[in-house]
Every structure is written in structure tokens, then in C-alpha cells.
């Protein structure tokens, strides 16, 4: 870069470095935080021991007075409980950040996010129906996420079916999603009211949490989010042009309607992965792209991957805040993302009002 940014919000390298360093510190900090207190030094040793396959710190608990069984219990807590949980937070946060950024891009609306569009609600409804109506209850661990996934994807497809209509504008689409979200919530309430027994289980999906985290779950989620996220990130240039309006984009060589369909589909899928394993976690998808745009401008080639990074760190922070505020147990994360997200979002809105009367980011 030869010319310095004056007003156009060119990404600044030191912001990226700051976020990266902060992120790594946050991750290390998070790895030692959870239901059980772990001494910092011990925790770091266990991490390094496990990460390097015993090359560093051959004895994970060297220098402590822990007996081998206590040591392996600590190792289990750090390695098999905390780490999968924090990784799932990162993966899901990234998925939601990406989904939010791409939906905001494709709808040219800073309020678009998977929650608003009903994609998340569809997932919860899917999980609720499978649970309440006892389909395949024998293996609920497997079926619940699967049906949450199906519910989210089905909602996304429904929005897409509307999007294929020849005269549907972006605004129509967005409002369709909003209407759909409300309808799904209503159906969900009905299902739960008629089956009170199911509501406790289903509330996991309603409030969102990291309770399902394990190395297996993380592996599936990571693979899926990585693949879908890569595909989404390949649409940066197209999303940039779509910001100029779909006609201008088309005259510049972007197949606007096809790109719109593709991005909505991918965003629904990536949201579905998140909802399947963690339920509804709001505001990550909404807020992360806004933070990115303030820090790095509005080039979607950067906004997409950066929203994934910010979303990941945001959700991880929410997890940490939950442990710090209520030591010993992990609260539903949706509560904390809302507590952090809403005031921040309002702040952004009011700051930006000067520039964009109707909320164009």
C-alpha cells in the first residue's frame, strides 16, 4: 500500500496484528477457564505436553505435587473438556460471523443475520420436533443435531424458493425471512406448549450452549465450517459488486441472482452446522461484521474471513464471561452474547446514523 487511507477505511496491518495477538492470548486464557479451577502453570504444561505429543514436558504435571491419577484427571479436564469446548466456541463463532457477514452482504442490509432470517429458528424447531415426537430417541445425541441441521437448511431453502421468484427484490426476501422466523417461533411455542416435557431438552437449542462439545463433534463441525467457509470466502468480489446494486453488479459481470442464491444457500448450511451443535446463539452473526467493517473497511474479500475471526473470538469471550460471572457452571451462551451484543450494536447504530440514515453500514 503506497497511499495512506484518508477516509476510505483501508485495512490497517496493526489492527490485524493486534487482533491476532489478543486472540491467541484469549485462547490460551480460555483453555484454563472452566467449571474446575486449573493452576495456570499446570494448565500450560498440560497443554504443551499434549500439543507436542509429550516432546515438551514429558511429564505433564512435572513440578507439581500431583499424583498420577490426579494429573490425568487434570489432563482430562483441560484436554478433553475445556479444549473441545473452546474450539467449538471458535468454530461456531466463526460460522456465525461468516453467515452474518455474507447475509448482510447479499441482502445489502446491516440487520441481516441468520437469527433474523429464521434460519436458526428452523434448526430449533427441527430439534424440538424430533425430541417431542420421540423419533429415533434411542440415539438422541445423533438425531437431535441432525434434525436441527435439517430444520435450518429447510428454512434456508424456503427463503431461496422465494428468492427464485422472478420479481422478488432483496427487500421482499429479507421480509420473507423475518416473517418466516416469526412463524417458526410460533410453531415452536405451540409444539412446546402441547408437550411441556420436551421443553427442557429443547431449551438447549433455544438458548444455545457448548454442552455437546467433544473432539468428535469439533471434528465434524470444523470440517464442515472450513469447507463451507472457504466456499463463502470465494464470493468476496461478487459481494463487493452486489453492494452497488444487482443491476450494476450484473453489468460488471456478476450473475447477481445466481450469486445471491449460492451465498444464501452456503450461509444457511454454515448456520445449520452451528445450530446443530450449539443451538441458537444470537448477535454473533449480527455484530461481528459490524466490528470488522469499523476496523477494516467494507471490502468483502476481507470482511468475510475477518468476520469469521471476530465471531470466533466474540463467542469465546462470551463463554469466558459466563465462567467468570458464574464460576463453576456454563450458562446458555445466547444470554451473554445478547448482553454484550445488544448495547454494542445500539452504539454502532447510533454512531453510524450520521453517515447512513437508513442504516446502510
Amino acid at each position: 500500500m503506497t497511499s495512506p487511507a484518508k477516509t476510505g477505511h483501508r485495512p490497517r496491518w496493526w489492527v490485524a496484528v493486534l487482533v491476532a495477538v489478543g486472540g491467541i492470548l484469549l485462547i490460551v486464557f480460555s483453555a484454563l477457564l472452566g467449571t474446575v479451577d486449573i493452576p495456570v502453570r499446570l494448565g500450560l504444561q498440560i497443554l504443551l505436553h499434549q500439543l507436542t505429543g509429550g516432546w515438551w514436558f514429558p511429564q505433564a504435571c512435572a513440578g507439581t505435587s500431583l499424583d498420577p491419577s490426579r494429573c490425568s484427571a487434570y489432563t482430562f479436564v483441560v484436554w478433553d473438556l475445556y479444549l473441545p469446548e473452546l474450539l467449538l466456541a471458535l468454530i461456531v463463532g466463526a460460522a456465525l460471523g461468516l453467515a452474518g457477514a455474507s447475509l448482510q452482504g447479499v441482502f445489502r442490509n446491516p440487520l441481516a443475520d441468520p437469527f433474523l432470517l429464521g434460519i436458526s429458528s428452523g434448526g430449533t424447531l427441527g430439534a424440538a420436533i424430533i425430541y417431542v415426537y420421540r423419533i429415533g430417541l434411542a440415539d438422541a445425541d445423533l438425531y437431535l443435531p441432525a434434525f436441527a441441521f435439517i430444520g435450518s437448511v429447510a428454512t434456508g431453502l424456503l427463503i431461496l424458493a422465494v428468492a427464485r421468484g422472478r420479481y422478488s427484490s432483496v427487500e421482499t426476501l429479507l421480509l420473507t425471512g423475518v416473517a418466516l422466523a416469526n412463524l417458526l417461533s410460533a410453531i415452536l411455542s405451540l409444539v412446546l406448549l402441547r408437550n411441556p416435557a420436551g421443553s427442557e431438552q429443547v431449551s438447549f437449542w433455544l438458548l444455545g450452549g457448548l454442552g455437546l462439545a467433544s473432539w468428535e463433534v469439533d471434528g465434524i463441525a470444523f470440517g464442515a465450517v472450513l469447507a463451507l467457509g472457504t466456499l463463502l470466502c470465494l464470493h468476496g468480489k461478487e459481494l463487493n459488486l452486489l453492494q452497488l446494486g444487482s443491476d450494476v453488479a450484473q453489468s460488471s459481470g456478476v450473475d447477481s441472482s445466481r450469486v445471491r442464491l449460492r451465498v444464501i444457500l452456503l450461509a444457511s448450511l454454515v448456520t445449520a452446522v452451528a445450530v446443530a451443535f450449539t443451538g441458537i446463539i444470537g448477535f454473533v452473526g449480527l455484530v461481528s461484521p459490524h466490528i470488522v467493517r469499523r476496523l477494516a473497511g467494507s471490502d468483502y474479500r476481507i470482511v468475510l474471513p475477518a468476520s469469521a475471526a471476530i465471531g470466533a473470538l466474540f463467542l469465546l469471550s462470551a463463554r469466558d464471561v459466563s465462567y467468570l460471572a458464574f464460576p463453576g457452571s456454563l450458562f446458555p451462551l445466547g444470554i451473554f452474547t445478547a448482553f454484550a451484543g445488544v448495547p454494542f450494536f445500539l452504539y454502532l447504530l447510533y454512531r453510524q446514523r450520521r453517515l447512513t440514515p437508513m442504516g446502510g453500514a
Binding site: 476510505g8 477505511h9 483501508r10 468480489k237 450484473q250 453489468s251 460488471s252 467494507s298 453517515l355
Partner: protein, 439 residues
């Protein structure tokens, strides 16, 4: 050896939106390198024609070819390498740096994984230079002035490096200095790079100044096509724009320019010279308004009389640009007004008598129609059942009966009357209202 295909070839293009005909049988051929201005009043079809050239809409009839290939056969990417578009105004929401914005125009030349290359950057900077914005390259697109922004939009379109550039009223939001600036730049680029330009403009003087050729559209028809000198005339302005203007020659440039003087109400409906008629409506008190509207919508030249000023029919006539013989408010029809009315009646090819209330002040209207009943088709609209029209103590009904005796055709309502007029004038082998017409 075959000559190279023209940049644009439009043949028999027809586009309708629902029942509205936006373009009718439009022919246009633009040789490579030419600067053509599409002129015409609002709603004449300029934008629709440009959108058809961009492949944004499916024509209902005819074809559009760019450089010898039907636009519909080209992929969106291929299209973007042949034709770039400068819209009237671009809805810019993100404050991206100008250079980045111009680089968006390189999209059709980049592969899926391509980043902006140094060549792309150099190209974009050259274009910013050409539009006079090189010192603003790092500024946000939303922070520059309106005139600069439109130049930036032009730069983005130019970055596509297409041999054809379409501009849709690119200067309509600019002040005169920026209008001249933008068009001179486009003109210069067209000359130096051999870029073909088709620009929709509604300012005819700007058009005359920059265009090699002006194509005039009116209500979806191509009504004139030629050099500014050939096309611009006082008659054209009156006919198409409904403006009385004076045509002058600029002694320095040798180009014609127009000085508009006032609105010409008697020729305002633009298809007047092209469309059949006149159809004369005898009305009053609002009874004639549906007829005036229906017949105007059908594309007929419509006249009316004798109406009283401030009356609903008189106001409708004025709003529609219908020529009418008009009397002062509530006054009995004077001899002069009646004479004017008779002139209109004489010219009419069909006379339609609305179901208006007949009083002493307008009884003369029916009496004046009577002599024409034998020569001109006369349609009389029946009143709605149970509605009395005669407030003269019998003279009004007697006059209507006399019309019937003289061969007038009675119809049930205004719509039926309009349909009957369409039938009458179509069977008389006149060009229909939607027939192609040349100026």
C-alpha cells in the same frame, strides 16, 4: 471481405410492461466508434432501450445484437467485457476508497482466485487520471462531491475496458459545469480509444453538442434519427416534447441549439402527429372525463368542447393536453366559442357525445353536433338508468332524439364508446394507435 458488425444492432425491438408498451418496433444500428445520443421525453423508452442492450430484460419482440452476437447468447461475463453501463445514479452504501471502487470494474477480466494485479491497479489509476480524480484515489467514495462521484462511476465502467459504453442520463443530477465536464470526457475517450457510446440524455442542447447522431424516441417509437443538424427542429420539439422552441445556430460551433419558450398545449400529447383522430368529445360537468382519458390512453388525438372553465371536463382536458373550445365559467356559450367548437367538430373523424347534463347554458352543444351527424360518425353515450340529463324542460331530450334520428349510434357507457371508436377508426384503414411511425 465482410465489414465488421456494428457495435449495436437493434431490430424490431418490442418491450411491454404488462399492458404498457415501452418500446415498439425500434430499429437502431450503431457503427463502432460512434457517439449516439438517445433523446426523448421522460417515459419515451430511452432507459428501456438501454436496459435491453445490457440484456437486463427479455424483449417481447425483435433482437438486440452487440458486435454481431445476440445479447442473450452472451454470458453475463462476456457481456461485461463488451458493454459497460453508467447508470443515472449509483446507490453507494459503503465508503470504499475510490481506487478500490474503480478496481471493481476489473471483475470481468479476473479469474475466481485472481487478486487485483499491479496491472489492474495501474489501469485503474490511469482511468482515474483520465476522469480527473487521480488525487482522490484514496478517498472514500461517499466523501467526494456528487460531480466527482458520477465521474467515479464513469471510471468504474471504463475500468471494464469495453468497446461499448452505455450511459443512462448520466448527468441528470449534475450542475451544468459538471454536465459539460462529464460529457466532454466521455467524448474525448470515445474519440481517443474508439469506444462506441450510446447515451440517453434529455437535454437536447447537450445532445447536439456531443453526439455524432441523435435518435429520438417518443412513447416507445423511434421518431427521428440523424445528425443533430438534421434532427433538431422546432417541429420536433413541439411534436415530441410539446414545447414551443426557437432553433438557433451557434455561429462558432455551427451546431444547432434550442431555446424553449413555452409549453404548447395544442400539440402536447406527443403521438399527436403519429396517431389517428382527432376524436371529438362533447362533454361537460365531468361526464366527458372518462372518455377523454380512455381515448387518450388508446393513443388517439382528442379534442373537446364546448366546456366551461373550471368544469371537471375542462380541467381533465387541460391535464391531458386535449385541445378544447372553452367558455368562461357558468356563462352561456358565446358565438365565438361555438364557432371554435364547430371548427373542432368539423375536423373530427368521430364525435362522441358524453352523457352530460343539458342546461340552458350548454344546450347549444347538442345543437351544434346535429349538422355533423350525417357526415361524421356520432356516438352518443346513454345516461345510467334512472338518471335524467335534461334540465331545459324538454329541449335537451329533443336534441338527443334528433341526433338519433340523424343516424347517431347510442352506446351504453363511456368504455363502450371508446371501444366503438377504436373499431371505427381501425376499420377505416388508418394506422392503429400502436402502429410504427417515422418522424
Amino acid at each position: 471481405m465482410t465489414p465488421p458488425p456494428p457495435a449495436v444492432r437493434v431490430r424490431g425491438l418490442g418491450v411491454r410492461f404488462g399492458s404498457r408498451v415501452a418500446l415498439h418496433d425500434v430499429e437502431l444500428e450503431v457503427p463502432a466508434g460512434e457517439f449516439v445520443v438517445l433523446a426523448g421525453p421522460n417515459g419515451s423508452g430511452k432507459t428501456t432501450l438501454i436496459r435491453a442492450m445490457l440484456g437486463f430484460l427479455e424483449p417481447d419482440a425483435g433482437t438486440v445484437e452487440l458486435f454481431g452476437r445476440p445479447v442473450g447468447d452472451l454470458s453475463i461475463r462476456e457481456r461485461a467485457r463488451r458493454v459497460a453501463w453508467v447508470p443515472q445514479e449509483e446507490d453507494l452504501r459503503d465508503d470504499v476508497p475510490l481506487l478500490q471502487y474503480v478496481l471493481y470494474g476489473r471483475y470481468p477480466h479476473q479469474g475466481l482466485f485472481d487478486r487485483d494485479t499491479p496491472e489492474d491497479r495501474a489501469y485503474a489509476l490511469r482511468i482515474l487520471e483520465a476522469v480527473g480524480l487521480s488525487d482522490r484515489a484514496a478517498d472514500g467514495i461517499r466523501s467526494i462531491s456528487g460531480g466527482e462521484r458520477q465521474r467515479a462511476v464513469l471510471a468504474r465502467a471504463l475500468a471494464q475496458a469495453t468497446p461499448l459504453l452505455l450511459l443512462d442520463e448520466p448527468t441528470s443530477h449534475l450542475d451544468i459545469a459538471h454536465q459539460l465536464d462529464l460529457l466532454s470526457r466521455v467524448r474525448a475517450l470515445s474519440r481517443s480509444e474508439g469506444v462506441t457510446v450510446v447515451a440517453a440524455l434529455h437535454d437536447l442542447n447537450l445532445a447536439a453538442r456531443y453526439a455524432d447522431r441523435i435518435v429520438v424516441l417518443s412513447r416507445g417509437h423511434r421518431v427521428a434519427d440523424g445528425t443533430p443538424r438534421d434532427v433538431l427542429s422546432e417541429d420536433l420539439l413541439a411534436r415530441v416534447w410539446g414545447v414551443d422552441a426557437e432553433l438557433e445556430m451557434d455561429s462558432r460551433s455551427g451546431l444547432p441549439y434550442l431555446l424553449p419558450r413555452r409549453l404548447v398545449t395544442d400539440t402536447r400529447p406527443s403521438p399527436s402527429a403519429l396517431s389517428p383522430g382527432p376524436v371529438h368529445v362533447v362533454g361537460g360537468g365531468g361526464a366527458g372525463a372518462p372518455l377523454l382519458r380512455g381515448l387518450t390512453d388508446e393513443g388517439f388525438r382528442v379534442t373537446s368542447g364546448a366546456l366551461h372553465l373550471l368544469d371537471t371536463d375542462a380541467e381533465t382536458a387541460e391535464a391531458l393536453g386535449v385541445v378544447a373550445a372553452v367558455e368562461g365559467p357558468f356563462a352561456p356559450l358565446s358565438a365565438a366559442t361555438r364557432e371554435n367548437h364547430r371548427v373542432l367538430l368539423r375536423e373530427a373523424r368521430v364525435i362522441v357525445v358524453a352523457a352530460f347534463a343539458v342546461g340552458p347554458s350548454n344546450l347549444a352543444n347538442l345543437e351544434d353536433v346535429l349538422p355533423f351527424a350525417g357526415r361524421t360518425p356520432v356516438l352518443v353515450v346513454d345516461p345510467a338508468p334512472g338518471v335524467a340529463l335534461d334540465f331545459t324542460g324538454g329541449a335537451g331530450d329533443a336534441a338527443r332524439d334528433a341526433l338519433r334520428a340523424a343516424g347517431a349510434v347510442f352506446v351504453s357507457d363511456p368504455d363502450a364508446a371508446v371501444r366503438e371508436v377504436v373499431r371505427l377508426l381501425a376499420s377505416a384503414q388508418t394506422p392503429g394507435p400502436a402502429a410504427p411511425a417515422q418522424g
